[in-house]
Symmetry: C2
Subunit: 205 residues, 2 copies
């Protein structure tokens, strides 16, 4: 059983890296079997179907994401520090996991959004949970008095997510060396524009 | 020759709609031939290769985008009105062209970013031109005194592009009914945070 679990973990790690480049739809069981020197029937025994493999890779990516982004960020002090930690770790996670094609979730979103099925539903559930996590951390910063409590945390999460998506686009497609600096500048502008009204009025002109 | 040009246009319109759903990589010449009741050899005669077809579809999408988004927006008064027109027409363009899978450029970006070749380079060129267009319109609003002239127009273009990508994600993957309202709210917050410092200080608390 232990050996089986290790094999499964190795298959999923390899699949995650491969899928970051070729997309979930490029993950054929034949291709994986070749790369991992396993039989196709052995791979089928682990996952049962191509779609079950896709769902397993998404869940695996979400576990690794929680390990390297969410959990460490939750170790930062509640409020703005935690929001910054979440953002920095998000920027770093494709590097932390050596994902050659960047964030799997961004890659998967375009591919799955028009493909009804279990994989699409799982991805949507994971993405909603991620946006909820951002919104919760924003709410913490509002409760600490660092951000305007009148603002809608889901709106700020939508905008932060946009900065991340724009970073992915600039870094991956455009190979823009300024992409990371632009993402951080977007975060700073967003935070500055979301300060409590009193502290914005106090700030020097 | 005229008939050939009409056929080519019809092939490209059909390909654009199909690619918005299945991606450029899903555009097989066999599949198109079946859907358009043309011979594979006839299609090859028009485009020569799968990659040449992909480039032709990207160029076709860019022409339609210029027609329904950029050119009409340039008809709005220079400055903030033009920036708003650009944003609104961007939100509406998948509907205007009846693209069943949403914006082809967003779909193509994830698929092509790790696939070196002519199609990837063409998409990157088109996307840089689009970001330059946004930045130019932002600069117009700065010159009209509506936005802070100290801000970097490329940074604002990066952030506006992020709001658009976040909208695409929320609307297409999450089927979030609030997606369009969130995108507009993101534009409003961005404009408010980019006002010239004096007019921001004058605004009521």
């Amino acid at each position: 059983v232990k050996r089986g679990a290790q094999t499964r973990e190795a298959i999923l790690d390899h699949s995650l890296r491969l899928a970051s480049e070729v997309g979930l739809e490029g993950l054929s069981i034949g291709r994986l079997a070749g790369a991992l020197k396993l039989s196709k029937s052995g791979l089928f025994a682990h996952f049962g179907s191509k779609e079950a493999l896709e769902v397993a890779v998404l869940d695996h990516a979400a576990e690794r994401f929680t390990e390297v982004v969410v959990r460490p960020a939750l170790g930062a002090p509640r409020g703005e520090a935690r929001l910054r930690a979440l953002f920095e770790r998000w920027l770093a996670w494709p590097r932390a996991l050596a994902l050659p094609g960047g964030c799997l979730f961004v890659e998967a979103a375009s591919a799955l959004d028009d493909r009804p099925g279990v994989a699409r539903e799982r991805l949507a559930t994971l993405e909603r949970a991620w946006l909820d996590t951002i919104a919760r951390v924003v709410r913490g910063a509002q409760e600490e008095g660092q951000l305007d409590p009148e603002l809608d945390p889901d709106q700020l999460a939508f905008e932060l997510h946009g900065a991340m998506l724009s970073w992915h686009h600039a870094a991956r497609l455009l190979r823009d060396a300024a992409a990371e600096a632009r993402a951080r500048a977007a975060l700073e502008r967003l935070l500055a524009s979301a300060r409590p009204t009193a502290s914005r009025a106090e700030s020097p002109p």
